[in-house]
């Protein structure tokens, strides 16, 4: 559905800062999250996890655990489906270890008992005999010739010959002649960068309640970003028919991509089938850190050539991503996003997907892109400094725009990068004076955004209000945005619409809430469903008036004759039409099912001021401004919230968050005390500027905004810190010991 020029100016509800319908329930504690689900007679489960980074499972003895009073059932890998292949096999291997435990925290068995305490005690009584194997957790070491092999034969055909078996996928893209490009440059800067894995850090741990009978018919309530995906995967893991498992999504306490996978749901279902009782399974925070899906860690080499006037002549990047003990690190996204903001004649990017003894990575907000921006934008900053050029001018000079060829192939449609750079340049922040010890950094960032399979139904009630059923869990206020779009189309008040996240039995397939797709795709589907309902309403009015359907228009919640020739009739308001719908043709429902493919990409430019204490290496972010293209902000407050959230998570990733593994391959910091996510007092007020360059692929021009906001922060903060400290920081997080070490290196080596 193309951008609708007639519907861009006279919005009544769209663009308003309406209250979210779930807000009061959330602040009063009434909202039901994953762990709030209960069922009569339910059991509680606990998972037995490997303490080893890499070990062969020799034997699992459950006899002592089974003998404990209150224990009702124990499952191991033998209780799951056999014969799975490809991605399904990887998911099952991760959910419950087979022959080997592949990382510290890998599940090897699970217990269901009549209380949580008994389940925990029983889990400690399960005796697992391991043969400990050599392990590797670092991406560069995992590629080295002497690295232990995580799994033979995991590589696909893309991998060049001669690579270590842990390199499982390879990507190459670009165009032009990079050597010729570097030869044209007045200055070439080449450097290497590393980033550590970080966790999404959602406040709600994974939780579910499962009920599965011996007849293989079941129900599952869980906290997820996409319950159709859970349904499909759980059916595969347990050998069920997909339609026989109904999945309902709870309210969700954050996901950021980390709840697009399954971890505990198949385990709870297996325990329920074994015990013939409902089974509740809730992760602890430590389990969340050890055994869900953090981001990939990276090792990257960047080479960029620039002329004295700021023209980039060539860009080259090599991106090695470690994504745990399974294929799937998003290295192709890293490679494709790296140079996306720039219109380059000569560009080449190469990516490696590398396995190591760590948990299987999951999506984290624009997976792969923030790291690429960190490396590329650091080198651009260095070039600007050495050539004495303004960093925004240089980016404007090279910016991608409509009609230029993207670094990864396609030709850009209407995009808003230049507009974000211009807004950043004219923002008071960019010209504000800096204090002693402070530095300023800027960075651009890019994310693709996504459409995906989408189903929406809008049913009118007899009183003229509407029930909107969508299938994308609300992770950012989307129920409000959907209701705003439906209200806009129906011409009724926002409050007259109730948006529900429907279960898997109620709608057609819905892809998970990822790819910044919800306001775009479910929004588009909502508009289409509402227009379908309006069409029926108009037809009912036409029948009543005895005129042609085409002679009826819908305005301000009423059917009206389209003009004088159509006849003289009083407008029929929506409630009059719905009260009689049973007699005039039956219930009025609009619906839409499709895979929209016009998701518009989103670019952002961030400005950061940081202050570095050179005696302790401590960094304080003192000012932060996000400028991003939202296409059209349906609810500006929630768009700003996404901008601020991305920046806040980026600040944590840049400065202090990291997965720390010991020599023994065990995760050292699986609690929030030592996994240092920012606290409120660590953050400045994050300023936002919404740029609106309409997406040609959405009727109102909407672009996804949730992910782009985390693409620039790592780079922008690194540039600010490097400018403040007077030394280039090339490894994340820029923790105080690392900053002091960089300062000392510089003092020693000049």
């Amino acid at each position: 559905m193309a951008f609708d020029d007639t519907k861009t100016e006279d919005f009544k509800v769209v663009g308003q800062r309406v209250k979210r319908p779930d807000g009061v329930d959330k602040v009063t504690g009434k909202a039901k999250f994953g762990a709030d689900a209960v069922a009569p007679g339910m059991l509680f489960a606990a998972i037995v996890r490997s303490p080893h980074a890499h070990a062969r499972i020799v034997k699992i003895d459950t006899s002592k655990a089974e003998a404990l009073s209150g224990v009702k059932g124990i499952v191991t890998r033998a209780d799951f489906a056999t014969g799975l292949t490809g991605g399904d096999l990887d998911v099952l291997e991760n959910v419950m270890a087979g022959e080997k435990a592949l990382y510290d925290g890998h599940a090897v068995a699970a217990v269901a008992a009549t209380s949580q305490l008994i389940a925990r005690d029983a889990a400690k009584l399960v005796e697992v005999e391991y043969e400990v194997l050599p392990h590797v957790t670092d991406v560069d070491k995992a590629m080295a010739a002497d690295a232990p092999v995580i799994r033979e034969g995991a590589a696909d055909q893309s991998v060049p010959e001669g690579m270590h078996a842990n390199v499982v996928r390879y990507h190459e893209s670009g165009h032009g002649d990079i050597e010729a490009g570097f030869a044209e440059a007045d200055l070439v800067v080449e450097d290497s960068f590393k980033t550590e894995a970080t966790h999404q850090g959602y406040i709600e741990p994974h939780a579910c309640l499962a009920q599965l009978g011996g007849d293989n018919k079941g129900e599952l309530w869980c906290c997820t970003q996409g319950h159709w995906n859970v349904q499909k995967l759980c059916a595969a893991m347990l050998g069920l028919e997909t339609s026989q498992l109904r999945v309902t999504a709870s309210e969700i306490g954050g996901g950021f991509g980390g709840k697009t996978a399954v971890f505990i749901e198949p385990v709870a279902l297996a325990l329920s089938r074994k015990t013939s009782r409902p089974v509740k399974l809730v992760m602890s925070r430590s389990e969340v850190f050890r055994a869900t899906g953090p981001t990939a860690s990276t090792s990257m080499d960047i080479k960029i050539g620039m002329k004295k006037d700021g023209t980039i002549t060539a860009g080259q990047g090599t991106f090695r991503l470690q994504g745990g003990a399974f294929p799937g690190a998003p290295m192709e996204f890293t490679a494709m996003c790296a140079f996306a903001p720039y219109n380059l004649q000569n560009v080449k990017q190469v990516g490696y997907d590398v396995m190591a003894n760590r948990p299987k990575q999951a999506a984290y907000r624009a997976p792969g892109s923030p790291m690429a921006a960190f490396a590329v934008e650091s080198v651009i900053d260095e070039l600007c400094k050495k050539l004495g050029l303004d960093p925004i001018e240089v980016r404007l000079k090279n910016a991608s725009k409509q009609g230029t060829k993207a670094s990864f192939g396609p030709t850009w449609d209407r995009i808003g990068l230049v507009e974000t750079l211009e807004a950043a340049q004219s923002h008071p922040h960019y010209s504000a004076p800096l204090k002693e010890g402070q530095g300023r950094g800027i960075s651009c960032g890019f994310w693709f955004n996504h459409g995906g399979e989408t189903s929406v139904t809008l049913a009118l009630s007899e009183d003229g209000t509407a029930q909107l059923s969508v299938g994308t869990p609300d992770i950012g206020g989307s129920r409000a945005s959907m209701a705003q779009m439906a209200a806009e189309e129906l011409g009724i008040p926002y409050e007259n619409i109730r948006t529900t996240i429907a279960d898997t039995a109620t709608l057609g397939y819905n892809e998970v809430s990822h790819g910044s797709r919800v306001t775009y795709a479910s929004g588009l589907a909502t508009i289409k469903a509402a227009r379908a309902a309006v069409k029926i309403l108009c037809a009912r009015a036409a029948a009543k008036w005895g005129i042609d359907e085409d002679a009826v228009v819908w305005e301000n919640g009423c059917a009206k004759p389209s003009g004088p020739n159509a006849g003289e009739f009083d407008p029929l308001p929506i409630d009059k039409l719905t009260r009689s719908m049973g007699r005039t043709g039956g219930p009025i429902v609009g619906h839409f099912e499709a895979t929209p493919e016009g998701a518009g990409v989103s670019f952002a430019t961030h400005i950061v001021d940081a202050e570095v204490d050179k005696e302790t290496g401590q960094t304080k972010v003192v000012r932060y401004t996000v400028v991003q293209d939202a296409g059209k902000a349906i609810n500006p407050a929630y768009v700003e919230g996404q901008f601020q959230g991305g920046a806040a998570q980026g600040i944590g990733w840049a400065l202090n968050e990291e997965y720390i593994y010991g020599e023994d391959g065990r995760l050292q910091n699986s609690v929030f005390l030592d996994y240092r996510i920012p606290v409120a007092s660590d953050l400045p007020m994050i300023d936002t500027v919404i740029v609106e360059v309409p997406n040609p692929g959405h009727p109102y021009g909407v672009r996804g905004v949730g992910e782009t906001s985390i693409c620039p922060p790592l780079a922008a903060i690194a540039n600010a810190v490097s400018n403040a400290a007077g030394v280039r920081l090339k490894e994340l997080p820029m923790s105080p010991p690392r900053i002091l070490a960089a300062l000392e290196d510089q003092a020693n080596n000049g």
Partner: protein, 286 residues
């Protein structure tokens, strides 16, 4: 697990003396309960001392103070006079945890947990705080620096417990300060901590105590660091000597929270900064 609520310290000692297995005294519980839930320490006997009369009182003791073993950080921060006399001590306690934790956590618990990174302990050591200890063999008074012996370990004998905290008289022209380094701004654990307490005669420092946390198996009282500033007006040379002595006293570990090199360096930085604050406070009190 057995849970007891004795109404006197004598009863508490009797319970502890006869207890089998792992015994823990429970005041605020901000360490005991966390360790229990995280499977680090599962006590067999839990003796809650909060029902004993007077444990929540802050009272004058001569010119100094007696702080009950269940007095919380929040109660110390809200006290009218204590923080005016000993701002470093009160601020150190106030750095621990969140507002909610402040409503539970106690000085005595922070001390008896035995962590080298405990924020209130270097401040108590610098201030010259002592504690009363009661046990099967009677009562004794012990300097705070003599309580911890290793991470998680104290010099308290089986059946012994702390019954009161004694803060000395502030006296004239004195000031104290405590600073810690954490990578964030709050809700974190000290990577390095430093307490400084000093007294002036005119502009000259005549008494000083300097303590360090999180840089050795126990909190340290560093005499060399104190000697570096006694007799000086805290000029640059004295501050450099202080930093050097503080760093020299460090015997830290490399771990997830910081490196040996980082901790050793930052101990000197914090010593200087804390000394300047203590000096300003002493001048203001002159």
């Amino acid at each position: 697990m057995q849970y007891h609520t004795p109404s006197s310290f004598d009863d508490a000692v009797a319970l502890a003396k006869d207890a089998q297995g792992v015994t823990r005294f429970l005041a605020g519980g901000t360490d005991v309960l966390v360790q229990l839930r995280a499977d680090i320490v599962t006590p067999d006997v839990l003796i809650d001392i909060k029902k004993i009369a007077g444990v929540s009182d802050i009272t004058r003791e001569g010119e100094g103070w007696r702080i009950g073993v269940a007095v919380t950080g929040a109660e110390m921060s809200e006290h009218d006079t204590l923080g005016k006399e000993w701002p470093g001590l009160v601020e150190a306690m106030d750095l621990i945890g969140s507002t909610q934790v402040q409503g539970r956590a106690t000085l005595t618990g922070n001390l008896c947990n035995g962590s080298p990174a405990a924020d209130s302990v270097p401040a108590m050591v610098a201030a010259g705080v002592t504690v009363s200890v009661t046990g099967p063999n009677g009562e004794r008074k012990v300097a705070v620096e003599d309580i911890p012996t290793a991470p998680g370990k104290t010099s308290l004998e089986a059946g012994e417990l702390v019954t009161a905290v004694h803060v000395p008289a502030r006296g004239k022209s004195g000031g104290d300060a405590y600073l810690r380094f954490i990578p964030r701004t709050e809700m974190d654990i000290a990577v390095v901590g430093c307490g400084v307490n000093l007294r002036l005669d005119g502009k000259k420092i005549v008494e000083a105590r300097v303590s360090l946390g999180a840089v050795a198996p126990t909190v340290l009282l560093v005499e060399e660091a104190a000697n570096a500033i006694i007799g000086t007006e805290l000029d640059d040379a004295a501050l450099d000597a202080l930093a050097e002595a503080a760093s020299a006293a460090c015997n830290p570990i490399d771990d997830k929270r910081g490196t040996i090199k980082f901790r050793t360096h930052v101990a000197g930085v914090l010593a200087k900064r804390a000394a300047k604050i203590a000096y300003q406070r002493a001048e203001a009190a002159s």
